[in-house]
């Protein structure tokens, strides 16, 4: 699962993850963030989430029941949908890390589910990624306008026509509990 989020993200992620029990999925969160803040945000999320939260490390293999926050100052790709690759390179959609980079690195898989979610944020990062996730057979969600601090990224994602569910964070959590198995 890849979640793209920007402005308003820290509190929205807190609202989402405190509603989730440990689930049989690896959660990769791409929040537009600076290297000075990434560890603190991960710690803040870890304090409220049922699953452990840590900054994603280069070459690390994703494990189920864990939440990985993309560190600031790098882009994050997933090799074979499960190995983290942190890379430098130009900003994408004016940001680094960019949700599109992580989402577009995903490939169709024969078993298991892929889920892409775009939450509150300015700009359009995540929209191309959501379109791609839908194309390769994934499930896609975007935060609704009313609950979004800034309805930029979720709107751009919804406008691709590739979003299955448009929901507030609590209902995104309920939907995830429905489609994912408990750990």
């Amino acid at each position: 699962m890849v979640i793209g989020v920007s402005t308003g993200g820290p509190l929205t992620l807190k609202a989402l993850f405190r509603e989730l029990p440990a689930l049989d999925a690896a959660f990769v969160v791409v929040l537009h963030i600076t290297p000075q803040m990434d560890y603190r945000i991960a710690q803040g999320l870890d304090a409220v989430a049922s699953m452990p939260v840590a900054l994603a490390e280069d070459q690390e293999f994703l494990r189920s029941g864990r939440i990985y926050l993309a560190p600031g100052g790098f882009h994050l790709r997933l090799d074979g949908n499960q190995r983290v690759v942190l890379c430098e390179g130009p900003r994408v959609n004016y940001v680094q890390p960019a949700a599109d980079v992580a989402m577009l690195s995903l490939t169709r898989q024969l078993k298991g589910k892929l889920v892409g979610i775009v939450l509150t944020g300015m700009g359009k990062d995540g929209a191309e990624g959501i379109r791609h996730i839908k194309q390769i057979g994934g499930i896609t969600m975007a935060q609704d306008q009313q609950s979004s601090t800034i309805y930029g990224m979720p709107k751009a994602a919804a406008e691709t026509g590739a979003v299955d569910f448009v929901l507030p964070p609590q209902k995104i959590a309920a939907k995830l509990r429905e489609i994912l198995d408990p750990l």
């Binding site: 000075q36 803040g44 700009g123 601090t149």
Partner: protein, 131 residues
Amino acid sequence: MNNRIMIVDDNEYVRASVEIICSSAQLDLATAASGPECLKHLESGFKGIILMDIMMPGMDGWDTIRAMVDRGLYDGNIVVMLTGMGEPDGKMEGLQEYVSDYMTKPFGPDQLIESLEYYLTLLNTPVDYER
């Protein structure tokens, strides 16, 4: 523990209401009526949560963040943007990473305190992580 807040807003009524809310929550508040005043506080060593109005005459909120970053004054602070507008303008592109949250005025005391307390918790998290 750092419990310092700075309100940067050219509207004195907004500054006054934030002052009342922060004082009731026993938070230490600095006030700035403009971007340059905000930078002066930072140059004097302020570190904390900065509530930044976007629309200010002369140097607006985005210009102020850009100046903070360019002058090396951003580290150790968390920026929450304040605005009366429904949607932020395109000047925010490229500055998203420096803005943790965004509040639309008018905001209620509870909403402000909840956000400030959470961001102060983050700000006071010791960073023992070596990349």
